[in-house]
Symmetry: none
Subunit: 494 residues, 2 copies
């Protein structure tokens, strides 16, 4: 993996992307043309697609209308687009333009990168087809979750709640739920009270609140690489930049590189999954967590800790979050019940440390409060529903699923394929031999009604072109066995 570099996740003004480059008009339209060509090459824009209008592109990239017109003229002369009178510019239907481009030089940040959102939308779109085998899904099969008990519990609290059930529950959220959360956190070495918790609509809202509490548009956020695409999208959508620090599938983010990056860049916050990261499945050892917390506290860089998979360890005790090693309130711990209980209830929370007040206010401004009855139902389940017993069974199930899927991948994929060995969570990270494109694998698998998550969505820089994330959130079955056989066959053909 290359050295860390700040890359703009979203479409940034071209001029801002390369401060060293003289801002001559020619240079700008050439850069814009390259950028658009790479969108076509990656399949973000496909043959027959209408290109963005001149005005839209001018606004979006912060360049003049004449720069955009010149870029389109160039693309037309290169056969990338064609102009239709009274209608605009369209991607030409030529195979050549779709062939992958050579990889850009490492660390190049000259031009704005295509965003991950388009690709993610395609991956997600696939998930809506009920006939699809969902090896790309980021969630657990409802058959592994206490579906009936939860829904019955929600029905019971709804019947009993009266006016409180329909009333707003303003931040910090339902006291009964926050008490249960504080009780559980104590088991992970996080000594807090219910007052330290703010409930949210899942982990994503918690991360969003934390990012907005400590950083602004244009700020640099340090993330692990590969990183969960949802986090990259979030950073992108907030106009922030992701600084990707290599992580390895065993012990997670490289602390030496992280330290170097902190010296070199003006980092506003660090956002990491410390336990069983997505997609790597990496587990940061306790000593590394302690060191990480110290390192960040010294530089006053807040850690936004995403611990959504912490409850899904295959063996031993539940790993502690970095928050357990933080005496200073510099760590904002985010998690939810979406992976272990009910994603559709949208109940999560943040323990925001010394940023509690600002997080609470942002929560109010964003969504007023978390939905009342789902909070009541989760609180009730945590108190009376046998959450620990459920977790024990769930952990056994997913450990088994991960083992079987990884077996099958090893058997079916081409020699030279690498595969992660997670000790928790339900993702496998598969690196195919050089030259095998995971985007191609994704596209061909879709035709066979199999969804996977291609590597490039896990990087703001489009890295991981040979990697793919395979989910093991569904019970092993013949269908899954067949799907992996099919994937293996495609991987051979690539």
């Amino acid at each position: 993996m290359g050295s860390p570099h700040t890359v703009p996740v979203g479409a940034q003004p071209l001029t801002a992307a390369s401060p060293a480059t003289p801002a001559s008009q020619e240079h700008l339209y050439e850069l814009l043309a390259q950028d658009l060509t790479s969108l076509v090459a990656r399949g973000t824009l496909r043959p027959g697609d209408r290109m963005p209008s001149v005005r839209a592109l001018s606004d979006q990239r912060g360049v003049s209308v004449s720069t955009v017109l010149q870029a389109y003229l160039l693309l037309e002369s290169r056969g990338v687009v064609e102009t239709r009178p009274q209608s605009g510019h369209y991607v030409r239907a030529t195979r050549a333009q779709l062939a992958p481009e050579p990889r850009p030089p490492r660390g190049s940040s000259q031009a704005a990168r295509p965003t991950v959102s388009d690709l993610v939308a395609r991956v997600y779109g696939a998930g809506r087809d009920p006939s699809m085998v969902l090896l790309g899904a980021g969630y657990m099969s409802p058959s592994l979750l206490p579906t009936e008990r939860l829904n019955r519990g929600l029905a019971a609290v709804a019947r009993a709640a009266g006016g409180a059930g329909i009333a707003y529950d303003p931040p910090p959220g339902l006291p009964a739920l926050r008490r249960q959360i504080a009780r559980r956190a104590a088991d992970w070495g996080v000594g807090i009270t219910a007052d330290d918790v703010v409930t949210t609509f899942g982990t994503m809202e918690a991360l969003h609140l934390c990012l907005r509490a400590v950083a602004q548009s244009g700020d640099t956020i340090l993330v692990e690489s590969p990183a969960y695409y949802g986090v990259l999208q979030l950073i992108e959508s907030l106009g922030m930049r992701a600084l990707e620090i290599p992580a390895n599938p065993g012990t997670g983010i490289d602390l030496d590189l992280l330290d170097a990056a902190l010296r070199q860049h003006r980092v506003k916050a660090c956002l990491l999954v410390t336990n069983f990261s997505n997609p790597l499945g990496a587990l940061l050892p306790d000593a590394a967590k302690e060191e990480l917390v110290r390192m960040l506290a010294r530089r006053d860089v807040p850690l936004i800790e995403d611990d959504i998979y912490g409850d899904l360890h295959f063996e031993g005790a539940r790993p502690r979050p970095a928050r357990a090693f933080d005496p200073s309130g510099n760590v904002m711990l985010c998690t939810s019940f979406s992976k272990t209980l009910a994603p559709g209830y949208r109940v999560g929370y943040v323990i925001p440390g010394r940023y509690r007040e600002v997080v609470e206010r942002l929560k109010f401004a964003q969504t007023v409060g978390t939905a009342t009855l789902p909070q009541m139902a989760i609180a009730d389940f945590l108190e009376n529903g046998g959450y620990e017993r459920h977790l024990r069974r769930l952990r056994r199930n997913i450990a088994d699923q991960v083992a079987r899927v990884s077996e099958a991948i090893c058997a079916e994929f081409p020699p030279g394929t690498r595969i992660s060995r997670p000790r928790g969570g339900f993702f496998l990270w598969v690196e195919m031999p050089p030259g095998k494109s995971s985007l191609e694998l994704f596209a061909r698998a879709l035709e066979r009604k199999i969804s996977v998550a291609p590597g490039p969505i896990f990087s703001a820089k489009g890295r991981f072109g040979t990697c793919v994330r395979i989910s093991c959130g569904f019970p092993w079955s013949d269908t899954i066995a067949r799907a992996i056989r099919t994937l293996g066959r495609i991987a051979h053909e690539l």
Copy 2:
């Protein structure tokens, strides 16, 4: 036919008194009621005067006795007349209808970064004290909402939903709910399909998504003044600037000033409550909506329309949103069921016009999806729960509450106090005489366990120092009467 006098106000829809009544007949009693109201407003009939007898009026106007009775029933429910047993109808001491309305602020402002959060936090903190009389609250009493039916409905869908109940529901949201929304929108002249709707966690998330879809940190957002503090907080939290354009309590934002502001400033979006604004209660006339839409489309400035109070009109047909006059997709219509059904369910939506795709993606990045079961429960209620019937009753109740509270304010507050005369919603905007500080009123009222919403939280520039918003979301009671008396006393002392 039973005597309408024995029908308690609010127990039955007026039309239900004579189900066979043709539409023209309804029109007649409504017209008659308006006519009589204007006689009162002009002072032809004065407080304490006996109204013409039913028979006399019937003869005089050439309408049936039952039309007159219905007109009187309506006037009674609006607080214009009162019935004295064995004696007839008398003009109520309706000072409210005669008091002058508050004045709009002078001139438009420079764009400002709102900083209302601290004050809002204090106002909201007050709301948590259960012994507080909540005249500052922005929500309806659960006693006015179909609490039991909704909670029972949620219980029923939770029991029946199985795995779908706990599963993520990714954007654009639950199809069954989106279909109901599209069906209702048609009644307001908004011709859409379910595909045009994205569900959200209430109106606030919808507004947040729209702002983020079309503007960035540093951009200027045009708002009405006074504006809902939640919107100012949202703009503040996104690092945007609010450009406040004066609105008047009758017809809303001043379009000439808006037009001038559009010429003068680089406005990125316009965010308005078009029907029964908060706090003013202003209703933009249809012609003004049409003009507004045209004005903004011409300059390519999107309109983010907040229509959360549109269902709460006191008379006539539901007012149309500006979206009904927009052929271009430039209006993003946001609303929810938080004011009319269940705030705590957190179910709202946006009809984002041509910004649908970006809104959908932002929604995914922000909160993954809206909670599944609350969406199912609301969809079910819209289909089978008698929403229209509920709305008719709710509207009568709040019209009555608004009339009574405004009466009481006129009686208790110092001479020279101005008060809005909303035709929908449940807020009153009260302007005390010059020199009376609403922040001081707020502070002293808090000591007496009464919460109000002081004027300055409705402006990014701290305007409206003599104004206060009084909520009428709770049924009239001795407690509220006493609280207003106390407020009046404080206002005298200031």
